[in-house]
């Protein structure tokens, strides 16, 4: 059985989390396979919330399933699809279903996903969502009303170490800490020097920052990230490295790169942990960890 | 017509562009003009040309001939020749003969403008012109290209009417060549016209290969460098070489050209056609007449003018303009002509001329009456800028009795000329400048405001109002015309150790030093001049024009004082155009070393121990690096406009991409601004030499006279009008007008369009979303009704 995530965070161990992407539909076979594969290899499994503004099975339902299978779920919540009423209500639901970890995010813009005509909400922003969770822990909702039975969460947030607008990103980072974020999982990082310099900016906080490791599967993906994903920069030498892989071995090369970086982060003590994203290919995570010596 | 008395008669000899322009400007200023032309029509060379450079305006010139013929103040004498001239300045008696009779006429002044003739290559074997039909002169090529020519605009070669696929131009045919044809001067215009011809052919038929064989590419005028780059981008090939043999290709009408390339290797290429870019020679008859009048000629047989008086001949009362004055392009010829007019005005005294309708090129298509309003002209001028161009224009106008206000931002008059020791001919600039400043400062009609600027301008031609401000006070002046002559600045180099080594000079500092201490550089053993510093590269893709002549002049002066001195001029193209070729030749004879470099292989300057300079340059001829240890280096840095945005906005004058003022595109009016009544002169238009600035300053005065001499000016006509009831003040017209005429006054809240400024294009009318503007004669109703009537008929 897994340990509570909060306990791991404070233990001083090198923390490893990974992702589970809910299916678009009700066939959960493949997802269950991933959960089984990962539940004992990582300290927490993030469940994405209509990731990239694409409608999927709900994060809360999947967190419950993970719990049933003996894993430690981290509930991702975005501000895009629910107003403050629905968000608070879902937090209460999560608690009663045994989910103890929440990652609060703004969420991608609706226009990037598969329901472009939908009305997006953004009633709260991520800072306010963290505050709402903390508020519920105090037995109060945002309307100022008392709760009959409160909650207790390990609340996390996100950061973007490779953002070009670092000053304004740090503004928000500080606010998240001030509001009570206990851990951060970062956007994908590829340039270790940028990660290091970001970590220097965050030295004063005691919060645990887990470096986001997004596994590259091809040179094309790397170029796409550079061109289209804000706050992610894949250095040219990594692109060259993966482009130079033998035919059919690109994924293997991507895994090597991920493992190498995880090892570096651990060995050089850059971050206290990592968050591995292997979008749709979660089965490779154990092998990466093995290659990284974890 | 008014019955005001017309005084003064002028005889203009030669009806080309310069003669026509002089005649029209004189007539507009109230003089009566005899325009004597030896052929049976006026127009000169231009009707023979197919398009002009850098923008094509040939279609706009036709009207000038018509205007001359219809102007009551101009008497055009065709098929006529001047037989004899007696009398003297102020009272010449001329005998003119046409086909049938002899006419005696009196003139206060004479203008020689019977121009040039193209060099005739037929007598010279090298060009094989007489032997092969497919070798044509550039003048013949113009006719072959012309849509109105026999081939209706499709270029065919003479021998077999085949459309050529490969054409070569040979430059400097009858120019820069004393062996072949006794023509030492550079003809100034051939580089550009060859590029124009080649580019036009490329535009019409992109697959035709065009090559130009040249020595130095003299693209020194405004917009020329840009035009050259365009031509290169479109595939015009430039080959730096003098062709030595043209042979027929056996069994065909093609021609084989042999030339030595830049590395000295012999190359052979075949062409369908070869074009000889023939030079400009002074017209024989014109030279004969000049000699008869006792006018001095220069070594190249062009009419010689007096120092600092670019249109005044050695004989009082006789003036010269256009290509008889020296080889020049169309816009310089027009400037020259207007300058002559101003000099005659200052010489013969002012005239009173009738009020004249605002020149309207727009036809009225409706029966609607077009109303004009007579507005008195403020007979006063405002000159912004107290440099050479500004002072010359002010003085010329003041001599005719018009009050002039000069506004200068510095604390003294003189402008850039204060830092110039000599002209390219070697005339002493400080002496001239002191005389000019004294004359201007002491003239009772001239008011000078130093350390002052214009802060406001309103009104329109004949009726401007400007506010002048200095640190103490602000005043308002009313003026009929505005002359902008704000000059330019020299950039400070950022390379070649400038500012780091005391012996690296910028040319203005160098020349100022020469004024203050003439002997200062005499003892140097070795000198280096570096050209094109910051010009023709990066953000400044234009030629600063006068630096080549400057360096050559300085080299000659130094070498004359100290023949032992080694002088190197490091250049990219030697642009000693026109008569300046003479000093280039002289410098070479004196042993000045000229080494060409390219942008890829710029000279390198380093500092050795104890501040000793070292210059490394790759010599193209030797194909070896040359190392020079000069005592000093003089850098010819770029000339830039001095941030005229504010003035441009105030006076509604456009700026080009390099920040210089833009002349009117409407017609060939090189010194008229886009706003009527505003004229431009000097370096604020583009970099130029002192004599060219003088000519422009005088020409601006000549153009201004056409307005100041009138008692009233008519405004109105085909102009836009705002319906204030409908206008919502949306600013569309303000933003869309190319001349910034409409304004929305925050207090009025609706647009107003000054009829004196409106040019009647109708752009605002078509853009107005509230349909609140109409233009007289071209309203929506009128245009739609016209369309419908055409369709229903």
């Amino acid at each position: 059985m897994s340990r509570p995530f909060k306990e791991v965070l404070t233990s001083g161990e090198f923390v490893v989390t990974s992702e589970i992407g809910p299916p678009k539909g009700t066939n959960i076979d493949k997802m269950l396979h991933h959960i089984e594969l990962l539940k004992d290899k990582v300290h927490g499994m993030n469940v994405t919330d209509n990731q990239s503004s694409v409608m999927r099975l709900s994060s809360l339902a999947v967190c419950h399933i993970i719990k049933d299978h003996g894993g430690e779920p981290i509930l991702q919540m975005t501000c895009r699809d629910r107003n403050r009423m629905a968000l608070q209500s879902d937090l209460l639901s999560a608690y009663v279903l045994g989910v103890r970890n929440v990652l609060c995010l703004t969420g991608d813009h609706i226009s990037l996903g598969d329901h472009k005509g939908a009305k997006q909400v953004f009633d709260l922003d991520s800072v306010q969502l963290i505050a709402a969770a903390k508020n519920l822990e105090q037995g109060q909702d945002l309307g100022g009303n008392k709760l009959d039975g409160s909650v207790e969460f390990c609340v996390g947030a996100t950061a973007t170490p490779e953002a070009d607008n670092m000053d304004s990103q740090l503004l928000k980072f500080r606010k998240k800490i001030k509001t009570g974020a206990e851990f951060f999982q970062t956007q994908a990082v590829y340039d270790m020097s940028m990660l290091k310099s970001f970590m220097e900016h965050t030295q004063q906080s005691n919060t645990k920052i887990l470096a986001g490791i997004l596994v590259l599967v091809s040179a094309g993906m790397a170029k796409y990230l550079n061109a289209n994903v804000a706050g992610v920069t894949v250095p040219q030498e990594l692109i060259d490295e993966i482009a130079g892989a033998e035919k059919g071995k690109a994924l293997q090369k991507g895994m090597e790169i991920a493992a190498r970086q995880i090892k570096q982060i651990k060995d050089e003590n850059i971050c206290p942990g990592v968050h591995i994203m292997a979008i749709g290919k979660e089965e490779i995570v154990p092998e990466i960890l093995e290659m990284a010596g974890i | 017509m008014s019955n005001e008395k017309i005084v003064g008669s002028v005889m203009v000899v030669g009806g080309g562009i310069a003669g026509m322009q002089a005649a029209l400007d004189l007539a507009n200023a109230g003089y009566s003009v005899y325009l004597v032309e030896k052929s049976s029509s006026i127009g000169g060379m231009i009707p023979q040309l197919h398009r002009t450079y850098p923008i094509c305006i040939c279609c706009k010139i036709d009207s000038r001939g018509v205007e001359c013929l219809s102007n009551p103040n101009i008497k055009v004498l065709l098929d006529s020749e001047v037989i004899e001239v007696n009398g003297e300045s102020g009272n010449f008696q001329a005998v003119v003969r046409d086909k049938d009779r002899t006419i005696n006429l009196n003139a206060g002044a004479i203008v020689l403008s019977a121009g040039f003739e193209p060099f005739d290559p037929s007598g010279y074997d090298t060009y094989a012109y007489a032997q092969f039909p497919n070798i044509v002169t550039s003048v013949e090529l113009e006719a072959l290209q012309k849509p109105t020519g026999t081939n209706q605009g499709i270029l065919r070669r003479p021998s077999d009417n085949k459309e050529p696929e490969k054409i070569a131009w040979l430059q400097c045919v009858g120019s820069r060549d004393i062996n072949q044809g006794d023509t030492g001067a550079c003809s100034t215009v051939c580089c550009m016209y060859a590029l124009k011809e080649a580019l036009n052919i490329k535009d019409a038929r992109p697959r035709i290969e065009v090559s130009i064989f040249y020595m130095d590419l003299r693209a020194h005028g405004k917009g020329f460098e840009n035009y050259t780059n365009q031509a290169l981008a479109k595939g015009v090939r430039l080959i730096r070489s003098r062709v030595h043999t043209i042979d027929p290709v056996p069994g065909s009408d093609d021609l084989r050209i042999q030339y030595g390339d830049e590395h000295g290797h012999l190359q052979t290429e075949s062409y369908d056609m070869v074009v000889l870019s023939v030079g400009l020679k002074p017209a024989r008859d014109a030279v004969a007449l000049a000699e008869k009048l006792g006018v001095n000629l220069d070594t190249n047989h062009f009419v010689q003018t007096r120092p600092f008086e670019p249109t005044t001949t050695s004989v009082p009362g006789i003036f010269v303009c256009g290509a008889l004055n020296g080889p020049m392009d169309i816009s310089n010829a027009v400037t020259n002509a207007s300058a002559v007019v101003s000099q005659i005005g200052a010489y013969l005294g002012p005239t009173a001329s009738p009020s004249k309708a605002k020149p309207s090129e727009i036809l009225n298509i409706s029966a609607e009456p077009i109303n004009f309003m007579d507005v008195p002209v403020k007979k006063q001028a405002l000159v912004v800028g107290g440099g050479v161009a500004g002072m010359e224009s002010a003085l010329t106008l003041a001599k005719q009795g018009y009050p002039v206000t000069i506004v200068e931002k510095n604390n003294q008059l003189g402008g850039h000329a204060l830092f110039v020791s000599k002209t390219w001919q070697g005339y002493c600039v400080p002496d001239y400048l002191m005389r000019l400043i004294n004359e201007v400062s002491n003239h009772p009609k001239i008011e000078i405001h130093l350390e002052s600027e214009i802060v406001k301008n309103s009104g329109y031609v004949g009726n401007f109002k400007s506010a002048i401000r200095n640190s103490q006070s602000a005043i308002t002046v009313e003026h009929g015309v505005t002359i902008l002559a704000t000059g330019a600045e020299i950039t400070k180099p950022t390379e070649y150790l400038y500012g780091q080594n005391p012996n690296v000079w910028n040319w203005s500092d160098f020349d100022e030093q020469m004024i203050n201490d003439p002997g200062v550089f005499e003892q140097a053993k070795t000198a280096v001049f570096i050209q094109c510093v910051g010009s023709r590269e990066n953000e400044r893709q234009y030629c600063s024009k006068l630096c080549c002549s400057f360096a050559v002049r300085k080299a000659i002066d130094l070498k004359t004082k100290n023949p032992e001195m080694n002088i190197y001029v490091l250049y990219r193209e030697m642009r000693t155009y026109g008569d300046r070729e003479d000093i280039y030749k002289q410098a070479r004879l004196l042993g000045v070393m000229f080494i060409r470099y390219t942008l890829e292989n710029k000279p390198e300057v380093c500092e050795k121990d104890e501040g000793i300079l070292g210059v490394t340059i790759h010599d193209h001829v030797l194909d070896l690096p040359v190392i020079i240890e000069p005592d000093f280096i003089c850098l010819q840095s770029a000339i830039v406009s001095q941030g005229s945005e504010k003035l441009a906005k105030l006076f509604k004058v456009a700026l080009d991409k390099d920040g210089f003022f833009v002349e009117s595109p409407a017609k060939l009016k090189p010194i008229d601004a886009m706003t009527e009544g505003v004229f431009l002169a000097g370096m604020d238009l583009s970099p130029k030499s002192i004599e060219e600035s003088i000519a422009q300053g005088q020409a601006a005065a000549g153009r201004a006279m056409g307005i100041l001499s009138r008692s009233t000016i008519q405004v109105g006509g085909v102009v836009a009008k705002v319906d204030e009831e409908k206008c919502v003040g949306c600013l569309t017209c303000v933003r869309m007008c190319p001349f910034q005429v409409p304004i929305v006054d925050p207090n009025q809240r609706v647009a107003s369009i000054e009829p004196g400024l409106c040019r009647g294009c109708g752009i605002c009318v078509s853009e107005c979303p509230g349909k609140a503007i109409s233009v007289v004669g071209f309203s929506d109703q009128q245009l739609i009704a016209r369309t419908e009537s055409l369709l229903y008929s």
Binding site: - | H50, R51, I55, C56, I57, C58, C59, K60, D62, K146, P147, T148, Q152, G153, E361, I362, L363, I365, A654, P665, A666, K667, M674, V718, M736, P738, F739, R759, G760, C761, G762, I763, V765, S766, E767, V775, F778, D780, L783, I784, R786, T787, E788, L790, L791, Y792
Partner: protein
């Protein structure tokens, strides 16, 4: 059946293109009689409405003849006209009349034969399109 002769309206700037007409005439070239010329001070004066009204009133095609690039004496009246033509084309496509019935041509005065050539070119194009559906 006789060949269809399209009715065309040409809005023509009184500068370069009109000189071009003169050059054509002086060269003895005829401008097709089916083209009617409406002169304007600058093509910048040609309004979207003028073009639409011409089509509505029964023209089979309309074109605007302006000065060549960079040669507008009002700086960029020809460029502004060109943008309006693009909108008219879209509108006519939407309406179902067909945007191809409208065109902008640029020419310099020196290109005398070009005016006649354009007139013929546009006539041929519109002949290919057939009579304006509004006239059927």
């Amino acid at each position: 059946m006789a060949e269809f002769e399209p009715k065309l309206i040409a809005f023509c700037c009184i500068n370069c293109p009109s000189s071009s007409v003169t050059v054509c005439e002086s060269m003895g070239m005829s401008i097709p009689t089916n083209v009617e010329v409406v002169r304007v001070p600058c093509t910048g004066r040609v309004d979207i409405l003028h073009l639409l009204k011409a089509i509505e009133s029964g023209a089979d095609g309309v074109y605007v003849a302006g000065c060549s690039d960079g040669n507008c004496q009002f700086t960029d009246g020809n460029v502004k006209a060109n943008r309006r033509i693009e909108r008219v084309k879209k509108l006519l496509d939407e309406i179902g009349v067909g945007g191809q019935r409208v065109e902008m041509y640029r020419m310099s005065a020196a290109m005398g034969p070009r005016f006649a050539e354009v007139a013929r070119e546009m006539t041929e194009r519109v002949r290919g399109l057939g009579p304006s559906p509004l006239r059927r």
